[in-house]
């Protein structure tokens, strides 16, 4: 019924290799993209600046992390540190007179190099031990940022981003900042969907599933793992720079603390490991659910529906949020992406029951 399949034939290899083979999917994506591009016209500044913009940027961050965790199977609990390197590198580069476009690329490269060095641990250890190694990266980067005033910006450890323009578009107005962030997130999304179809993407999956089996069939684990850390850290570094220039516009060490790393891991897990739509849904959920719940509960309290103390009032959204995460993961351990997939499959053959996928 919806997602109509009848009349859709793939008569060439090219047609069969399309990203969205079903016309409805294609139209949905185009419609969403148009809506997203036009968002500054019809979304109020409050919602654009405090909801949509951070959502877009954190989705890009979740996509960067899920490349490493979902595709390559390498756990990373220090991804906020990778973003911090990108953010600080970009600000210092722009201040040194490097054009913003180039500074974005260079900050990505710097993150990629440092990220790959720490990723070297992955050559020796796996699983929980790798988690420990990446945690060490988080704390080392935190420590260096806080303790080197030349990086963090002196007494109050706040660095404001200088005024910049991207391809002659001044990154000053909310709309301009949003479009730049959206452009980067869309670029990452397209890249991610395509990387799965390349030999590099298949090598990552082989490494994830069993690294010595991958070695037997000719995938070099040494190279592939380092490449995974390099690529993912590059993406994360540029995202950190985008976060600094488009959203915060003043960088402090707390913005890239350990709790942010955990949030990123939560986004990837709640959304669904290694999934594109999961990264978007997961980022939206982890970032925005606490805000919506806080406002909802405060609204109810203001109208006298929940007469409780301020302290309890503040913790109530957290309890609901926690219950929601457990609920979603119990309902569907593969994350929000799988929930969407189930719904889509249901409508694929609706009103009949069984889907072939």
């Amino acid at each position: 019924m919806f997602y109509r399949l009848s009349g859709t034939y793939h008569t060439s290899y090219q047609a069969d290799r399309k990203l969205w083979k079903i016309p409805t999917d294609r139209w949905l994506v185009i419609a969403l993209l148009v809506l997203a591009l036009l968002a500054p016209l019809f979304v109020s500044p409050l919602y654009l600046g405090s909801y949509v913009l951070p959502w877009v940027i954190w989705s890009a961050a979740a996509l960067s992390l899920t490349l490493l965790m979902g595709l390559a199977g390498q756990l990373h609990f220090g991804f906020a540190a990778v973003m911090a390197i990108g953010a600080y590198a970009s600000i210092h580069l722009v201040r040194a007179g490097v054009p913003f476009e180039l500074a974005l690329l260079l900050s990505g490269l710097i993150s990629a190099v440092i990220g790959a060095i720490f990723g070297g641990a992955a050559l020796r250890v796996k699983g929980l031990y790798l988690v420990m190694a990446t945690l060490a990266m988080q704390y080392l980067v935190d420590w260096v940022v806080v303790n080197v005033p030349a990086i963090s910006g002196g007494a109050h450890a706040t660095l404001r981003t200088p005024a910049v323009s991207f391809l002659f578009l001044p990154i000053e107005s909310l709309a301009a900042r949003y479009w730049l962030a959206l452009g980067w997130a869309v670029l990452l999304t397209v890249f991610f969907m395509n990387v799965k179809r390349t030999s590099f993407g298949r090598a990552l999956v082989a490494i994830r599933d069993k690294d010595f089996a991958a070695a037997v069939i000719g995938v070099d684990p040494f190279k592939t793992k380092l490449m995974a850390f390099f690529t993912s850290s590059f993406m994360g570094g540029v995202t950190g720079a985008i976060l600094a220039f488009c959203f915060y516009r003043a960088v402090t060490p707390e913005q890239f603390g350990f709790n942010v790393s955990i949030q990123l891991v939560a986004m990837v897990l709640v959304g669904g490991l290694g999934s594109v739509i999961g990264s978007w849904l997961g980022a939206g959920f982890v970032l925005l659910a606490p805000i919506f719940l806080t406002n909802l509960v405060s609204g109810l309290a203001a109208s006298g529906w929940v007469p409780v103390s301020q302290n309890f009032l503040s913790h109530l959204p957290l309890m609901i949020y926690g219950a929601m995460i457990i609920g979603f993961l119990l309902l569907e351990p593969l994350g929000l992406a799988k929930i969407y997939d189930n719904i889509r499959k249901y409508f694929l053959v609706w009103p009949f029951r069984h889907a072939r996928s």
Binding site: Y47, S50, G154, T252, L288, T294, A302, G304, L318
Partner: protein, 409 residues
């Protein structure tokens, strides 16, 4: 997207319906961290703020028909949630904000200045925001950490002397912990003492490594610079390492809860205070009478009169006074008139709750006066008079740092 907007709209509508209607309803955004890092202070502090606003409304301090409303939200110490809460409260009409969180304040400072909204940063945030010429809409309001350090050092000077003495500064390893550094540096030359810094890792649940170093250093005085649970650990570990409670001097973040956690050995420990503690103050008495007894209190009655509760009361007493002065002459209250109201405040001491403060267009710290108090086993007893220590030095540090901010840091 439309779903999100609808949901949010409903929320806003529900929240909006319940707002009281008045001639002028002044809105303050108290968007604080109730659930993450600042939980040790926020609960009592915010309770004091809300109770004082209730008192102001009960007594009609803002004039006939006018009222003041607090918009209270949790930000969880996360900048992106603070930005959302700020933007929303701004739409609801708030003109004064208190985030009680350094990262959130830092993320919003520039935006609030551009929007001409007041941000008060009592006992948190940037000390150099005291320079009103560079930060026209930011009011640190109470003594900065620099002023606190100077006040404590001066107390040591007046009680035992500083010439040739050794001070150990044991601090949390964060920008906040490093704040007293420049003051100690400047004063050590001037007063002829030596000092050494001993950082411990955040959050400070375990400090024995730092304190065994301190013991080897054999300090005459100890300055502890941390917050929350780490403070009680500092005092306890110091005493275990043979440091007498009388030698310990703390930043403003040491309160009744910490004393209860440390136990009887806490007796003799000193701290800086910006507001008087206890219920034996006219303003607190009136809160008990008109707010608590009337059942309009916003939290646990046992907290009334605590150090952090009184701190919250003081911040709102100053803010309401500024609003009152800003509305004089009948003009509507905006960020700009509220700023003017702040700068009209002169010699205001909230009936003895705090030292007399005077704000000018240049000085948004209000003079930086405070005092030192000592834990006598049951309560905090003041051991010095309200005064500002080394005001010229503090002003110089403020202006130097503000100049750097102006350049872009």
């Amino acid at each position: 997207m439309t779903f999100l907007r609808k949901l949010a709209l409903t929320t806003a509508l529900v929240a909006g319906l319940s707002a009281p209607v008045a001639a002028e309803d002044v809105k303050f955004g108290l968007l604080q961290d109730f659930t993450a890092v600042y939980t040790f202070v926020t609960g009592q502090y915010n309770q004091g703020q809300q109770d004082y606003l209730a008192l102001a409304n009960a007594e009609g301090l803002l004039g006939e028909g006018n009222s003041v409303t607090a918009i209270v939200r949790d930000t969880g110490n996360q900048p992106q949630r603070g930005i959302e809460a700020y933007n929303r409260a701004k739409e609801e009409g708030a003109i004064l904000f208190d985030f009680l969180s350094t990262p959130v304040s830092a993320a919003i400072l520039d935006q609030a200045q551009a929007d001409k909204n007041i941000v008060i940063t009592p006992a948190h945030g940037r000390g150099d925001a005291s320079d009103g010429t560079v930060f026209p809409y930011v009011f640190p309001m109470l003594p900065t950490y620099w002023a606190q350090a100077a006040n404590l050092i001066e107390h040591m000077k007046n009680n035992g002397g500083l010439e040739g003495k050794k001070i150990a500064i044991v601090h949390i390893d964060s920008p906040f912990g490093r704040e007293p550094g420049p003051i100690l540096e400047a004063l050590s030359e001037q007063e002829g003492f030596e000092f050494q810094a001993f950082p411990y890792a955040s959050p400070g649940n375990e400090q024995s490594a730092a304190w065994s170093e301190v013991r080897r250093y054999r300090p005459d005085y100890v300055l502890i610079w941390g917050a929350g649970g780490g403070q009680a650990v500092s005092v306890r570990t110091a005493i275990q390492n043979g440091i007498a409670p009388e030698q310990i001097h703390s930043v403003i973040w040491l309160a009744e809860t910490d004393a209860a956690n440390v136990g009887p050995q806490m007796k003799g420990v000193k701290r800086f205070e910006a507001t008087a503690a206890g219920t034996d103050l006219p303003i607190i008495q009136r809160i008990q009478e008109k707010v608590i007894a009337a059942g309009k209190g916003s939290g646990d009655q046992a907290n009334v009169g605590n150090s952090y509760y009184n701190l919250g009361v003081a911040t709102m007493a100053v803010a309401v006074e500024a609003a009152r002065l800003g509305m004089e002459g009948g003009q509507p209250l905006t960020g700009e008139t509220l700023k003017a109201g702040f700068e009209k405040i002169s010699g205001f001491d909230a009936e003895g709750l705090m030292p007399a403060v005077t704000y000018t267009a240049e000085d948004h710290q209000g003079g930086g006066a405070g005092r030192v108090s000592e834990w006598d086993g049951e309560k905090w007893v003041p051991v010095s008079e309200w005064h500002a220590a080394y005001p010229e030095l503090i002003r110089q540090v403020i202006e130097e740092s503000a100049a750097k901010y102006k350049e872009g840091n």
